[in-house]
Symmetry: C2
Subunit: 150 residues, 2 copies
């Protein structure tokens, strides 16, 4: 990973809509050179896409929760992620090393919606759940800068 690529990634992590012209000015490359590098980063899967960062409160989804999941039948084949896909309200699904098997991140509108979601999760994947409600989020989604080599 070249230094120029890391610079470009860092800039696009902070402002995903920055123009190739501005990226060029910031990196000392021409517009088309930057464009070429970005295309290659996208093709290689280093840059996976671009997203608008949205305020969940404004969207009517003020309640965030982490749901830890344990399969009830340890003998059953583990297809929990597949069963939870398309359930809605779930932003992430991590397989973890710990007491439980998965950690889910949920965004809902109200405690009632969370109650509904938990019922749907348990039913869809045959699991028990342990839920941790988020009270506030001092910071989130902060881009972790790419590793620098000495």
């Amino acid at each position: 990973m070249e230094d120029l690529d890391r610079q470009i990634i860092e800039l696009l992590s902070v402002d995903g809509r920055m123009s190739y012209t501005d990226l060029g000015r910031a990196t000392g490359l021409s517009t088309s050179a930057v464009h070429q590098r970005v295309r290659r980063l996208e093709e290689r899967g280093v840059i996976r896409g671009y997203r608008a960062i949205v305020d969940h409160d404004a969207l009517g989804l003020p309640l965030t929760a982490f749901i830890s999941v344990s399969p009830l039948d340890p003998a059953a084949p583990d297809d929990v992620p597949e069963r939870l896909t398309g359930l809605g309200d779930l932003e992430a699904c991590h397989s973890v090393a710990g007491v439980e098997s998965y950690i889910l991140k949920a965004r809902v509108g109200s405690p009632g919606d969370l109650e509904d979601l938990l019922a749907r999760v348990r039913a869809a994947a045959n699991v028990s759940t342990r839920t941790t409600v988020v009270l506030s989020t001092p910071w989130e989604g902060r881009p972790v800068p790419p590793e620098r080599r000495g």
Copy 2:
């Protein structure tokens, strides 16, 4: 929140670099109408920014972990988030209702880096930690669609 705004937000959540022209085509609005709406969504703070989504493996940060944090001195003023800001490697900090006080999300390069980070977290905020290592991430950062009204 109007339906057109929700449509625009959904489109920009999936492709944060979509052009105003394409947004117009997708929503049936003129380019300038879309542009005006996006500007207002940004000004109101509904759209908080745009980010490139980056593959952490490719950046040399293949190890993700959730760190649950408990203050050692419950009498001390709670400024954990401030103390952890700028520590690096931390992507998020949530204040939570549960046995522990905070959940942190970390991205590091190796178990050794995680060990270092945990020491820094404990020292900086005077806390004990409980860490859950992520083994794999079936999905993450999936945009939760804005609430639809019946």
